[in-house]
Symmetry: C3
Subunit: 210 residues, 3 copies
């Protein structure tokens, strides 16, 4: 086996996977699930978005070609099990990691769609699905209303990041500059909206549900 050093993007990808998996496992722990259920919740959060993207793009999901994703998810569960009582203190750290994961996954999803010959507007949607889809699948499995429907700006940050990516490419910036700018934009937008409690306007009530 050749040992290859992971690239910077891969390191971020692994960190993002770890952060996303940790958030899924924590949610399962709070609902008193057993550790297998927690593993599923962690996996859904970490690789669910990318899987949904790859199914839509009609290619084999990325995690099926490389066991590293599953290994990171198992490590995330071991981490939660071991350090459960200290995790409250790491809330902010995990939030930051989660935001970095969101930004990175947006860029990864955008890139993959473009590399498969999709239009830019499809790439923006694929970036948002990669970033926010895992959380939606986790929430569906845990039988709660997906977070994207409420309160925080989350998937919206991915869409905004996709437009930044598009804009960078339109003015002929190099791809790696566009990646860094778009990813950073998602991270900062996510952090800013949580910090300053920025939300989108709510729709007016129309009638009582039929």
């Amino acid at each position: 086996m050749n040992i290859e050093f992971p690239s910077f993007v891969e390191v971020l990808d692994f960190l993002g996977t770890f952060a996303f998996a940790t958030s899924g496992v924590r949610l399962a722990a709070n609902r008193r699930y057993d550790w297998f259920g927690a593993l599923i919740a962690g996996a859904a959060t970490a690789i669910g978005g990318g899987t949904l993207r790859d199914i839509l793009l009609n290619v084999t999901p990325a995690w099926m070609s490389n066991p590293v994703y599953i290994i990171w998810i198992i490590l995330a569960m071991a981490f939660v099990l071991r350090y459960a009582k200290y995790l409250l203190q790491f809330n902010y750290t995990i939030f930051i990691l989660d935001s970095i994961g969101l930004g990175l996954f947006t860029v990864v999803g955008f890139d993959k769609a473009i590399s498969l010959g999709m239009s830019t507007w499809v790439a923006i949607i694929m970036g948002a699905i990669t970033g926010a889809g895992g959380g939606v699948i986790r929430d569906l499995l845990l039988n709660k209303t997906p977070m994207i429907f409420q309160k925080e700006i989350y998937a919206m940050a991915c869409v905004a990041g996709g437009f930044v990516y598009w804009g960078c490419l339109e003015i002929y910036l190099p791809v790696y500059i566009a990646q860094i700018l778009a990813g950073t934009f998602v991270v900062l937008l996510r952090i800013a909206t949580v910090k300053y409690n920025i939300t989108l306007p709510i729709l007016p009530q129309i009638d009582h549900e039929p």
Copy 2:
């Protein structure tokens, strides 16, 4: 860019997409979601069924090749936002548009399965998935029990329409006649079952849920 006039089926397809999207956005509005959540709910309703069909048929979802679907969904949300207070008066109009969408999507799904070489019984199922699948996905996202499990005849109308389509082809009617008859049958069946409150028999209770 060449401007092409849309065909009659395309016009109905757009109307159906608009009606389905409107129904999704309205449901989200009644739950006080923000406008991004409402957009997702509208998109799930309008293109969810076709997406599920295309994933099962192992082809790229139709909406990813043509931005017109997304544009119609955004227009539907703008329409709901602008005319929210008058929407109650349009309830019947939207119900009719939704029924037309159901009939049309059934025909579109049936056709697509046949054109990809599937058996007729698969085409009937694909018609039902195209017509009723979007509502199921919307209900899953909104964390409510999918409507197809309760009360109204909905997916069942699509299945019945699929059998009508099949029958028309069996007696060598031209395809466009079969499309019109099957689609109209779905629309009328849907409207009739709601108007006369026709429901399917409920299963007998067996035991308390384990």
Copy 3:
């Protein structure tokens, strides 16, 4: 049409499909769904796992090539409708059939992944998805928290069976021996864990859900 006698594995496959469909229909009956909703719940349980596996493996779902699965699901519903009042007495029989279905579907899923050139660890996951995925999809549709997150060892038995399969192949046992051993292991493990009420450890509570 050539009449072919089904192989032993096919007979088990049909029995498993029937048992899984019966369990889905029963759950729907207990929730007072109409018979079309019950059919959907039965189908989701019986073919949902295999469908999810085939979507991930990027091939056309198995049930779309052979109407026998749909026929078995319809028979299962007729069976529940006809014998509803006696079904309580068959609880143990259905549990055994369901366990056999779980073991068989695990083997079928593992085999299919391997035959499509996937790694062994992917095959283990595909076995678990084939065995336990249908129940998850049914629970999502019925809007309850999927059973895999709680109480019983279910998907975990499939994963364990996958490891048994792997081990058998590693020591060069013939494939059919590996299939029988792995499948039997899943069945016995499932029955034993229910009989002796064996559960996995629950994760420690971390904080109140945000």
